[in-house]
Structure formats: C-alpha cells, structure tokens
C-alpha cells in the first residue's frame, strides 16, 4: 500500500504538470461556485439585514431555522433538486439535470443559509447608533442599510468567504445533480470522489492540494486588498 509521503509526492508532481483535463475540472469548480455566490449574496444579505433590523413575530424562529439549515447535508439538497429537475419531476421540461446550471442552483441553495446566518450575526453586532446616525443625517432606508453593512464589512466578508468555502468543498449536491460528467460537470470535488473510489488516493490528494492552493491565493489576495483598503480609510 502506498504511503502518505509517496502519495503527497505524486500529488505534487501532478500539480506541476497540469494538463487540459485538470484545468477544465478546476475552471468548472470555480466557475460554478463563483456564480452561485454572486447570485446568492445580495438576497441573502438582504434577508440577514431584515432579520437583524426589523422586529416581527417569528423572527427568532426564523433565525434558528437558518442556523439549522446549515446542518442540511449537501446530498439532501442534491436529492431534492434532483427529484425536482428529473425528467419525471415537476421541472423536468427545463432539461437542467446534469448541467452546470443545476450545480449552480444547488450551490445557491447551500450557500444561502450560511450567508444569512453569518451575515445576521455580523449585522447584529453592529452598533445601534450606526443606523441612527445614518437615519438622522437623512439616509433613506436602503442607504442606511448600506452604511450599516459597510461598518460590519469584515464580518460580511467572512460570511462570503465561509459560504464560498463550503460550496467549493461540497460534493454531494454537485455529484447528484451534475452527474460528474467529464469536461462538462466534473468539478474538483467530484473528481476527488471518483479518484478515491478508484483507490487512487494520490490523485485525490493532488486535486485537494490544487483546490487548497487556489483558494489560498484567492483568499490571500482578497485579504491583502481588504487590508490595503482598511489602511486607506
């Protein structure tokens, strides 16, 4: 049996000689997850703001619900979406099953509760005076919301990063509704699952390292940008 050192060395050598197939897999992963985050963030943050800002009956229950939705396994989301999109399901006519669109939809559903839960806890930690200051200086509700969001931007940023991390790392839903079709819906995690099921641990870990390195580069540049902006302000 192959030792961990061997596997890691193999992984690294695979990394440097990146081929077209590998890059297709990577670009599908990032493309799908970027789209999902892009479409989900605005409505999710609006929801988080509403939950943090407006008093209404059932608000606490709703917050609990979003925290709970974090515990829904990706594969259950995948399953449900599968049944909806299946040829014999209610939206079968859209022919979305086993497409990237289906993967984006699944990841949107997965990222929504994280963004709401984490965004809510960031917005809730905002000083009440932020809103009061904005309001009294004449900000209309939407503008006041942006001011509050700006004040807790690091917390919201962390929410987006966490949500992106979660969906780029998830496999259950993408496997289910994407189908792991080579060059079409195979992303990094479904590829890892495939390699693993073949007993090709080295390839699995190699892909894991690719993901990690790319995420690190992305994250670090965002954090540098954020740091630079903080210095300016």
């Amino acid at each position: 049996m192959e030792s961990l050192t061997d596997a890691s060395l193999k992984a690294l050598s695979l990394l440097v000689s990146g081929d077209a197939e590998l890059w297709a897999i990577i670009s599908i992963s990032f493309g799908v997850s970027f789209q999902a985050i892009l479409y989900t963030t605005p409505p999710a943050l609006l929801t988080a703001y509403a939950l943090a800002h407006f008093e209404f009956p059932g608000r606490r229950t709703l917050v609990s619900l979003f925290h709970t939705l974090l515990a829904v396994p990706a594969v259950v989301v995948g399953l449900t979406l599968y049944l909806l999109l299946s040829r014999s399901g209610p939206f079968g006519d859209l022919k979305l099953l086993f497409t990237q669109t289906a993967m984006v939809l699944g990841q949107m559903v997965l990222s929504f509760p994280i963004l709401v839960a984490m965004g809510h806890s960031a917005l809730q930690s905002a000083d009440q005076r932020v809103w009061e200051t904005a309001y009294t200086l004449g900000a209309p509700p939407l503008r006041a919301m942006f001011t509050v969001m700006h004040e807790v931007r690091y917390g919201l940023f962390a929410a987006v990063i966490a949500a992106f991390g979660r969906i780029i790392a998830e496999v259950g839903c993408s496997m289910m509704v994407g189908g792991n079709i080579l060059n079409y819906t195979r992303n990094i995690t479904t590829a890892i699952a495939l390699e693993t099921s073949k007993g090709q641990f080295a390839q699995g870990i190699a892909l894991g390292i690719v993901l990690l390195v790319l995420a690190l580069v992305l994250n670090y540049s965002l954090s540098t940008l954020r740091h630079r902006l903080a210095m300016q302000a």
Binding site: E132, T133, G138, T147, E151
Partner: protein
C-alpha cells in the same frame, strides 16, 4: 404667533414598570433655542430621541402644520427636517472628511461644491489637519467636534443636540456656543440637552428641566433681547 415646526402632545414612554416620560406638550419653534436639563437618567436623551424619530414612544401625537399625526406617521417628516447628535457620537469607519460629508452626499450636492463646504466646516471646527485620518482614532473631544460638524453641515430646520460640549476643550466650547447662537438667529430650531448650564443658559431662549417625567420651566437668570444677541455673535 407663528406656527411651530412640530408640536408634540401627550408623549409617554415607560421602561418596564417605570414611567420615564409623561409630557403634555413639547413645541419645536423655528429660531428658538431650548435648553433641557435634568438629573442623570431623567430622560433627556430619551425625549430627544423620541422627538428625533429614533425611539418609539408608547404614545404621542405630532402636529405638523395643520395635520395631527401619530408618531410613526410623523417620522418621515421629522427625518427630513431634523438632525440628532448623539451624546456619545458614532464615528463611521472612514476618514473625518467622509464622515462629515456623509449627510451632504445624501442630499445630492454637486461634488465640487460639496468638498468646498466640507473644507469650510472642517476649518471652522479646527479639524482640517485631521481631514484624512480615520475618525475612529480621534480623541474624545475631536470626535465630539466631528459629530457636531457632521450634523450642522446638513443644515436642517431643527438640530437636536445631546450634550454637544461634553469632552470639548474651552475654545471648542466657545465656538459651539457661538455656532448655536448663530444658527438659531438664522432661524434654525435648536434643542440642547446638557449639564453644561453655565455655558448654555446665556444663549438659550427657554430653559426647561425634566423632573419626574415632566417638563418644568426654569426662569432664566437674565434674558437678553434677540437684537443684542445677533450683534454679539455676528455668525
């Protein structure tokens, strides 16, 4: 007699069992500066926040021109005409300049004009050397001055100032008194809650004290005519 800008009636507010405010009438008149004093916890901040549309009273009617509205309905009109200055002002996490420009930008001032106005205001508050510093790192008195500048620059009809001179040094206090006087003489209505009676009583047209949830008129030690005041502080 001219009609008041806002005429609050039957304002009540309780926290738990305690009735904090139970005020029959509270009038906001243009060109009048009203000083509100009272012990710690008397309810000055709460009253100003209710009048500013920031804290919901348990009950209140607001007469705006001829219409008698509920507090919630009156809020929008209040917001358009009044700026409230916090007792412990909040600095937005950006530069001093942008903090001060915040309200003006909402009023869609042309950009060039906007920064001229801001620069003037900064100079008045002796804050020009701090313009590009993050407002969070200011000293206590500097923050207070930024907040006052940020509020007055919007040029509202009513300015509600909660302890505006707290933390300020002597010179800033004096310019604040002068500012209040000048703005009032230009026709602004000014509400000040403060423990700084020495400095503010000479300027105020009315001095009222909050005791047991009621407003009680305090006779001013000396009362000057409008005319003398205008000449003393030519703005």
């Amino acid at each position: 007699m001219k009609t008041p800008l806002f005429h609050f009636r039957h304002v009540t507010k309780r926290f738990g069992d305690r009735v904090l405010l139970n005020i029959d009438e509270f009038v906001v008149n243009a060109g009048v500066c009203m000083l509100i004093t009272g012990d710690n916890g008397a309810g000055k901040t709460t009253l100003l926040k209710i009048v500013s549309g920031l804290v919901k009273p348990d009950s209140a009617k607001v007469q705006v021109k001829d219409a008698v509205l509920s507090w919630s309905k009156a809020r929008v009109k209040i917001q358009r005409n009044l700026v409230y200055l916090h007792q412990d002002p909040y600095m937005l996490d950006t530069t001093v300049e942008r903090n001060i420009a915040y309200g003006l930008r909402l009023h869609k001032e042309p950009r060039a004009h906007l920064y001229d106005t801001v620069a003037d205001a900064l100079r008045w508050a002796r804050l020009d050397h701090l313009a590009h510093r993050n407002a969070r790192s200011l000293s206590g008195g500097e923050k207070q001055r930024v907040a006052l500048t940020r509020a007055r620059i919007v040029n509202p009809s009513v300015l509600a100032l909660d302890e505006p001179t707290t933390n300020m040094d002597q010179q800033s206090r004096i310019s604040t008194y002068q500012l209040i006087d000048a703005l009032r003489n230009e026709g602004m209505a000014i509400l000040v809650a403060s423990h700084d009676q020495t400095g503010l009583t000479p300027i105020a047209d009315h001095h009222t004290q909050l005791v047991g949830g009621k407003l009680v008129n305090v006779e001013p030690a000396f009362k000057r005519s409008r005319a003398t005041k205008v000449t003393r502080f030519p703005g």
